[in-house]
Symmetry: C2
Subunit: 188 residues, 2 copies
DNA sequence: AATTTTATTATACAGTTGTTCATTAAAAAA
DNA sequence: TTTTTTAATGAACAACTGTATAATAAAATT
């Protein structure tokens, strides 16, 4: 079992802390490696031994948030719902609350200059959560990969629109809206 | 009426041509301003008077493709369909064929390193097309902005999954799949 | 505590970026 | 055609990038 060198931990913490400070003042996109290293008092060469670019450092933060997404999603799992929209209970959809909680972070992730990769990573996590639902409650008459992709994206689409409207609605309203939309699409 | 200087047209054409050549060999992300200018035989300073970065040059190409999307969407408009999924006719959804036609382009647009902005631009065009449908056939019991966002994203979600599966299905199959998914979500 | 391992540093390098400015040359207007 | 306007060029600038290497220092191992 390989023990992590304390120097590495310290370096990474310094770099992360510096990035977080800079993110309060400027966009991810405009932050340079040099700038982070100056603030973190870490040699620029050291940065490159751990991360290839600023985005890779940001992704460590990303992983933390994704873990929280998973937790907040599973928490109210007792109200289990399936892809059958009429059984959908707004209280079970925690993702809007999660995003509300980490609004600052998601403003970065959904900004115009952010690489599409963040969308994909977020998508993957969400799809995986939906897959768990489907495996438990859904039937399998259809390509489950495509279906869960469809479902995950329906939610993410709403989230993107939410972001574009500057998160003016609150999470509860977004939950209700999702239910409304699903009902509307479902009705004849 | 301001007449465009011939020199500007020539410069822009040279730059675009150079970018297109480079895109056949490497990713958008790895192409530098210097490289484009070397190939186009255009002074680097001139590049910056017209475009701030490589992505801005790429967006000119983007606009052309978007015009084609609109054309290919409106073409079979006679088979008009609404958001009521049961009336959806696969033949009316031309977007998959459009993407199939410009596959090379969409591989760039959906690549991990592409800025989210391309997604937004594509989204806007698609949403606008759907809005036209809604204004003609939809009722207005619900927030139309959110609804068209939801619809546009449902389709884009499928497109992204299509891209991730390396466009292995053909456009016709994707059309059928969309209809299947909508039916499935609609059924009780 | 002494030794070994390895992460960090300082330094240097060629290349890119984004900007500025005087000069040149090409297009538009007279 | 001549004059005027303005786009393109070449050169120079400081700053950042990505990489490499020898020297140093800090952690892990014995």
């Amino acid at each position: 079992m390989k023990q992590l060198d304390l120097r590495i931990i310290k370096t990474k913490e310094s770099l992360k802390e510096a990035l977080m400070l800079l993110l309060k003042e400027k966009t991810l996109n405009s932050i340079s490696v040099t700038e982070i290293c100056r603030l973190a008092k870490v040699n620029r060469g050291t940065f490159y031994t751990h991360y290839g670019q600023v985005e890779n450092l940001f992704e460590e933060y990303f992983k933390e948030i994704m873990q929280n997404l998973k937790d907040s999603y599973l928490e109210p799992y007792k109200y289990a719902w399936t892809i059958h929209t009429k059984e959908l209970n707004p209280a079970t959809i925690r993702i809007f609350h999660h995003i509300e909680k980490y609004e600052e972070f998601y403003r970065i992730v959904f900004s115009k200059t952010a690489p599409l990769n963040y969308y994909y990573l977020l998508f993957d996590h969400l799809q995986q959560l939906l897959d768990e639902d489907m495996r438990l409650h859904g039937n399998d008459k259809i390509d489950t990969g495509m279906l869960s992709a469809y479902q995950a994206n329906a939610i993410l689409g709403l989230v993107i629109e939410w972001h574009r409207q500057d998160f003016k609605q609150n999470a509860e309203e977004m939950n209700k809206l999702l239910v409304e939309l699903l009902k509307y699409v479902t009705q004849d």
